[in-house]
């Protein structure tokens, strides 16, 4: 649940908001991540009026209101403010008409003034709200950046996620978060991972304890957030399981509705997990550049078989 109060506290300064009236309505709920200019609704056309959005008054709206006769002005404003609109913002630091102020007080709708131009305010506000309303989750795992690729290492407790991450950091890759990763969907197309405020840049290694990676290895070894590009699941080696030996079929997993390449990496003594993770990341980059090692090899093989058949 996102309230007007939250918006004001978290982003008020950034948007340059100043509360003018309707303080009692700060607990109003913002239900949709949208804002709009009243436009036609102000002229009396209220059919399909999106009343749940935050209402923004710009230069045109304020001047239009000024031109109206006071009783009409009250009627128009009353029509708009009888909707569940969470808040009203007047852009360009215009002084809100006193009817607007008194109606906001009456309906308990917070009224703000902002110094930005209307379009600037509208786009900034939409961006912030979309971000706040983005689907998110937290998952158990370790997020590292390897050669610029965001790798989410998952697996059961004590399979060696943190140790693998430590190895990667030692080789100059970066840690985003260990143990718990908060994931947010951005622009409804990709995922971004970041750590929790308290445990950010900390790791727990069995036999050593809690360490601060940023202090041990320097600021170059940590990052605050990173897009998640691939998911690798570490698993203890199971002789009964047939692991991917070719890499022709690509596996995917689903996180918050985003499809991510997924690898299962069996772990056993003698397998250098750090090196394997680096290879997975490099191979992912190579695929991004349009080269798929497994497919290329298969094509070469098919070609050779075809020439042999011709010869015979």
């Amino acid at each position: 649940m996102y309230l007007v109060e939250d918006l004001y506290k978290q982003h008020g300064e950034r948007l340059g908001l100043e509360l003018v009236a309707g303080k009692s309505g700060m607990k109003r709920r913002i239900k949709v991540p949208e804002a709009h200019r009243p436009g036609l609704a102000l002229a009396g056309y209220l059919k399909s009026h999106a009343g749940k959005r935050i209402t923004i008054f710009g230069k045109v709206e304020i001047e239009y209101l000024r031109d109206l006769a006071p009783p009409v002005r009250v009627k128009c404003l009353n029509d708009i403010l009888s909707t569940p609109t969470p808040a009203v913002i007047v852009a360009r630091r215009y002084r809100p008409p006193k009817e607007l102020m008194s109606l906001c007080e009456k309906h308990a709708i917070p009224l703000f003034r902002a110094s930005m131009t209307t379009m600037n305010l509208l786009s900034k506000l939409t961006l912030l709200l979309t971000e706040e309303f983005a689907p998110s989750m937290s998952c158990h795992g370790t997020l590292v950046e390897v050669f610029g690729v965001g790798v989410l290492i998952q697996g059961d407790s004590s399979v060696g996620k943190s140790e693998a991450a430590l190895g990667l950091i030692e080789r100059g890759h970066r840690l985003i978060s260990d143990d718990i990763v908060k994931v947010k969907k951005r622009e409804s197309s990709y995922l971004e991972g970041f750590g929790a405020e308290l445990t950010r840049h900390h790791m727990e290694i069995r036999g050593i304890g809690i360490i601060n990676v940023a202090h041990l290895y320097g600021a170059v070894c940590v990052r605050d957030n990173k897009s998640i590009d691939i998911v690798v699941k570490l698993e203890t080696w199971d002789d009964q399981n047939f692991y991917d030996r070719v890499g022709l079929d690509e596996k995917y997993c689903d996180m918050l509705g985003v499809k991510l390449p997924f690898h299962i990496l069996p772990v056993k003594p003698g397998r250098d997990v750090v090196l394997l993770l680096e290879t997975i990341a490099l191979n992912h980059r190579l695929k991004g550049m349009g080269y798929n090692s497994a497919k290329e090899f298969n094509a070469k093989l098919l070609n050779m078989i075809a020439t042999k058949t011709k010869r015979n």
Binding site: H140, D179, T199, I210
Partner: protein, 88 residues
């Protein structure tokens, strides 16, 4: 089997490093999946950093979810430990 129970943190200092260590130590050999939910965050109770991330104060209420073959015994052990303030 899945069990869900709500507990209150009784320790003076809240769920700090020592109680968290005690919980992880206790769950080390448990075959269950154990998770704690506190203020919208659900975490794996077998990881120290995750428990610490909750930064649960004294008297905060935590929902414990235990799922697995020995859920009964694990839940009982956890409840006793919370009640005894982890021996502090």
């Amino acid at each position: 089997m899945k069990l869900i129970q709500k507990v209150q943190v009784k320790n003076m200092m809240g769920l700090h490093t020592r109680p968290a260590t005690a919980i992880v130590k206790m769950l080390q050999n448990s075959k269950c999946d154990v998770s704690f939910t506190y203020k919208k965050a659900t975490i794996n109770a077998k990881s120290i950093l995750s428990i610490l991330m909750l930064a649960a104060r004294k008297n905060s209420k935590i929902t414990i979810t235990v799922e697995g073959s020995d859920a009964d015994a694990t839940m009982e052990k956890l409840l006793i430990a919370f009640e005894n303030e982890f021996g502090e």
